[in-house]
């Protein structure tokens, strides 16, 4: 009997367990999945919690429910991966593996920024990348009387890179609906050179910032949070004052990766971008946010990766060459407020374009354009996540690689 061990029962790990249980012969392979937490969160829902759009119950369920029969589930803390011995040390036992899948994700590391965890943390400074943070922010917003709202990204890469921008758009709608938009000044602060960083998106979407009166500060590399002045300060002493700071702190891979010596300086694991095999060990595979790939850290990306990785695990067990298949495909809804959303579809090489999705000319979803239908798509996605995506049920007509059918390459440079 051989052992396949999956570390992490989040979006990626759970999907892999569901894919592999039906594909690996039961008489030859024992599949084990390890996660220290009981609760599985629907992380895209954290964007909606602060605005009272979703309730707590809609974004969390017991993780065990989604682990299929035939997979051993261990709820314990992972101490260390021992790649030279093909073992994983848990808090009180050691597992041996023939194949290891690392799906330990990424999380915020607010202690990486000086002053962020100072006296204003959770009073006037909030994150919405954790369940607790999103709820605390909801409570703050319910009673906030207005002032300078600063929405801020510390540094890239972050999980769901577009979430902070969606937050700014939704905040605009939220305050309008509360009849207090005139009392709120929204500024979006990014370390990149714009809110939109790809030329196609800049052209198609820059109007949104103007329309919603969101100010933008670019190329801002935060040095510290000055709690006395209530301002964020960068390395050239640029100061941006705030009354309410909603920040996306540095995102890092899990500490277990650091303890095991497997990661880069952000604890992300160097991974082959088309096969998902780790660069250092041929029997360790990596999926989702835990990789160092230049793809978005997002559930849709993990979903497409899971299909390729499943095939590659099977190929690997048979001693065949791995498929160079994963293309960085991402497919994401972006909330723009007022019950509208955008849909974007892109990969490592191809920037988001106009067109229809998933069917050429028919849609019904429109790419890179605001529509109510896309917003419904985003809301429907919560159901799809719990009932299809986690269980490894294919989403009809959405392929693992990016399709060029129905796409219009009509966004041209001005010069």
């Amino acid at each position: 009997m051989k052992n396949l061990v999956i570390l992490g029962a989040g979006t990626s790990g759970t999907m892999m367990a569901n894919h592999l249980v039906s594909k690996l012969p039961k008489k030859d392979w024992k599949i084990t999945i390890v996660d220290q937490y009981k609760t599985h969160y629907y992380q895209p829902g954290f964007l909606f919690l602060p605005f009272d759009t979703y309730t707590e119950d809609q974004v969390k369920k017991e993780g065990k429910k989604f682990i299929p029969k035939g997979v051993y589930y261990i709820q314990k803390k992972i101490d260390k991966i021992l790649p030279e011995e093909n073992k994983v040390a848990l808090e009180d036992e050691t597992l041996s593996y023939d194949i290891l899948i690392v799906a330990t994700g990424s999380k915020i590391a607010p202690d990486e920024t000086d002053g962020l965890l100072g006296p204003l943390w959770k009073k006037d400074i909030f994150d919405f990348y954790t369940y607790e943070g999103a709820l605390a922010l909801r409570n703050k917003l319910r009673e906030w009387e207005g002032g300078k709202l600063v929405v801020h990204i510390t540094e890239m890469p972050i999980k769901c890179p577009v979430a902070p921008l969606e937050f700014a758009f939704l905040a605009d709608s939220y305050f309008k609906n509360k009849g207090m938009r005139d009392k709120v000044d929204i500024t979006y602060v990014t370390p990149l050179d714009g809110a939109f960083t790809k030329p196609t998106c800049t052209k198609a979407l820059n109007y949104l910032l103007k329309e919603k009166q969101i100010k933008i500060e670019t190329d801002f590399a935060i040095m510290e949070v000055d709690n006395d002045k209530k301002a964020i300060v960068d390395y050239v002493d640029r100061e941006i004052p705030f009354d309410l700071l909603v920040t996306v702190p540095t995102n890092m891979g899990d500490e277990v990766i650091e303890r095991s010596g497997l990661g880069d300086d952000l604890n992300f694991i160097p991974t082959h971008k088309h096969t998902l095999q780790s660069k250092a060990h041929e029997n360790i595979f990596v999926i989702g946010d835990a990789t160092n790939l230049p793809a978005s850290k997002a559930g849709s990306v993990a979903h497409f990766q899971a299909e390729t990785l499943t095939d590659n695990i099977i190929l690997y067990t048979k001693g065949f060459k791995l498929k160079q298949e994963f293309d960085g495909h991402a497919n994401c809804f972006i909330e723009t407020g007022n019950n509208k959303a955008l849909l974007i579809d892109f990969n490592y090489d191809q920037e988001p374009v106009h067109g229809t999705f998933p069917f050429a000319k028919i849609g019904p979803l429109k790419l890179l354009k605001e529509s109510v239908f896309n917003h419904w798509g985003k809301l429907a996605f919560r159901w799809i996540y719990w009932n299809m995506l986690l269980k490894g049920i294919p989403i009809p007509f959405v392929g693992r690689n990016m399709s060029f059918k129905g796409k219009k390459f009509d966004i041209k440079a001005d010069n």
């Binding site: 890239m156 921008l165 990149l192 050179d193 790809k198 590399a221 390395y235 230049p294 440079a413």
Partner: protein
Amino acid sequence: MKKVIANREIDVNEEGYLVDFKQWDREVCECIAGECNVVMTEKHWEVIEYLQDKHHKDEPLSIRGIKKSGVINIKEFYELFPGGPLKKSTLIAGIPKPKSCI
């Protein structure tokens, strides 16, 4: 699209970033730097080489990476490439600028 840099036709994208790194050399580099009002010094070259090395290893570029690079600290990085150090330095280095997903 094509752009004449150092008397040569170079392939660039809409924002002037080189599309094919093979077309990059020191002469091209100095011309682009000149357009950004940057005069290349030894330190600039060191940073450019560091960024190119990271890029070729498929490692993401970040301000934090610069901090840990041992090549330069962040204040110096801003002084060498005023305004937007990452976007300017990558333009000069002939590699893509750091991007988000949109």
